[in-house]
Amino acid sequence: MNLSTDIWVWVGVVLTFCIYSFLYRDNPLYRFGEHLFVGVSNAFTLSFMIHRIIIPVMWRPFAQACQVAGSDGVSVDLFNPIAPANFLVIIPGLVGCLYFTRFIPRMTWMVRIPIGMFMGYYTGRTVPAYFEGSVFPQMRGTLVTQAVFDPAQGGGVMSGLFAVLVLLGVIGTLAYFYFSKEHRGPLKWGAQVGIVFVMVGFGASFGFTVMARVSLAIGRFIFLMRDWLGIVT
């Protein structure tokens, strides 16, 4: 036994117990940990946002532009939106301020402007990314080729068979998600094959993840028993 003398270790221990107490039931200790977690987390996000976004991205270019304008007068350069010193950073700031119009009765609709800009850009970006990063490689990996049967190219009868199984599974799963028809006849068979693959696959994923989750708990117990109590090494 070699109890820790580091204040922060003790803080960590108390908080660990606060959260673990939830396993018994909701109680004041858990509520304390939970509210502290939310409070401090938000403070961290706020500090980070101010020091990593607001000041360097918005405030500094604007302040520098004011400085340059003060010494050399206003020039066109100060209206280049990507220059290190420019006045135009005020525009995103103004757009951001539109969020607050929701408190002004007749202008509430303007909240939709920043929302629309955000949604538009990012939803647009997602689509090609999915085709490039998911559909193309996944479809390509699913196509069965002669190579998987060819021992000279690292294939074989078994690997060929498995590739065919994967293909069947993908087709079945796609059939399961076919919404336009009732699952009857051949579609029913396809969908049944699909759901078999889904269930077997998901069961396996669950079983596979147990080890990683138990490792997390082991990590916490190592903290308690080694860093705090000093009873294991």
Binding site: G33, F179, S180, T209
Partner: protein
């Protein structure tokens, strides 16, 4: 060869992207030893990129232990850019200026320190391109599938009846909201733990709109805690709009949609708190979730709430299936708002998705047959450079 064809078409389409051709020219560099020089040396503007990049290729020289790539500006002296190992046959020089002509040569390096230089390639100019031809296939696919969906939307617009089969998880929505009403308890709606940049979040907000209409009609309180501040602003508008659409704008509680915290685990801690303290009768967990999915779903299950979950994050689906009463898997999450609203145009889009699935299916079957029976590799269509 086929791949080359596609590249050619893509190159032609990307106007102004024609690479500046260059040919081997000039006399071969003085060859003092037996070491042969690298042959078939080319230096060209790297295609489909943002410029400032020239690709040099060569054929190996026998006996070389490495190669040195040298570059000179017009009228200047040659300088070494990079040395590479013997198994390399190409190099991308990313340290050039656009629009400036350069000369290149490749030196084979021998074991005893001898060198043997290739002929000089003149006038290589790097230019930025407007279109990334490597993604030509992706662009075509996006356009193709988009037109399929749009065509079905048009059909719906003409008033065609569109049939959609039952989806169990969505059939249960009415019952789930009704149960909360009977019990006099609230409905908890978690719009995922993702950002607005994730489409799953957008899909979830669309479902939120439909569910909020139901809670407005039934007069059941709804509670929407948010993890992302931008999502929070949208969710608030969505719920407010749904209450107005349902004719109950007065029943909208501004506090019902609220921001909690960005840290996903802190968010899970806080939502756990809501679940065990307010004991909502129904929990909806819709949208992108990460590791916190089971923390939320399992706590919800322990309170006896009826839980309907849905996510497009495939790794989290097993946990929802295990811990929730109904789970919308992947695409069902996207189909949900159309299904719940029964709006013809939205159903049309859903039909378009189904047609897309048929295209996928057909491609897989035909591609496999071509490949297995005739040895034609259908996968080249799907390469992305």
């Amino acid at each position: 060869m086929k791949r080359l064809g596609v590249l050619l078409v893509a190159t032609l389409l990307s106007l102004g992207a024609l690479p500046v051709g260059a040919q081997e020219g000039g006399g071969a560099f003085q060859n003092r030893t037996n070491l042969p020089p690298p042959t078939e040396v080319t230096a060209k503007d790297t295609p489909f990129d943002g410029g400032s990049n020239i690709t040099v290729t060569w054929q190996p020289a026998e006996g070389a232990i490495g190669y040195r790539i040298e570059r000179a500006p017009e009228g200047g002296d040659f300088e070494a850019v990079e040395a590479v190992g013997a198994d390399e046959t190409s190099f991308e020089d990313g340290d050039v200026q656009n629009g400036v002509p350069y000369r290149y040569r490749v030196m084979a390096l021998g074991e005893a320190g001898e060198e043997s230089g290739s002929g000089v390639i003149f006038g290589v100019v790097s230019r930025p391109q407007w279109f990334n031809g490597d993604l030509f296939g992706v662009a075509i696919a996006v356009l193709l599938f988009a037109s399929v969906v749009v065509w079905y939307i048009q059909r719906a617009r003409r008033g065609e009846e569109l049939f959609i089969r039952r989806i169990a998880g969505l059939e249960a929505v009415d019952e789930a909201v009704g149960r909360a009403t009977e019990m006099g308890k609230s409905v908890l709606y978690i719009p995922g733990t993702g950002q607005i940049s994730e489409m799953g979040t957008v899909a979830s907000l669309n479902i939120l709109g439909e569910i909020a209409k139901k809670t407005a009609e039934y007069g059941t309180p709804i509670n929407v805690p948010n993890r992302d501040p931008v999502v929070y602003t949208v969710a608030r508008e969505v719920v407010k709009g749904a209450y107005t659409a349902a004719g109950r704008p007065d029943a909208f509680q501004p506090d019902s949609v609220h921001f909690v915290v960005q840290n996903a685990l802190a968010y899970a801690a806080a939502v756990n708190g809501i679940m065990v303290r307010e004991k909502p009768a129904t929990n909806f967990l819709m949208g992108p979730f990460h590791a916190e999915s089971l923390i939320l779903a399992e706590t919800g299950a322990s309170t006896g709430a009826i839980q309907i979950a849905g996510t497009d994050q495939v790794p989290q689906l097993p946990f929802f299936i295990v811990a929730c009463d109904y789970t919308l898997m992947g695409e069902e999450l996207y189909a949900a708002s159309a299904y719940l609203s029964r709006e013809p145009l939205m159903l049309g889009a859903l039909k378009g998705e189904d047609a897309g699935k048929l295209v996928f299916l057909l491609f897989l079957v035909v591609g496999t047959l071509l490949s297995v029976l005739f040895g034609i590799d259908a996968g080249w269509i799907l390469s992305t450079g």
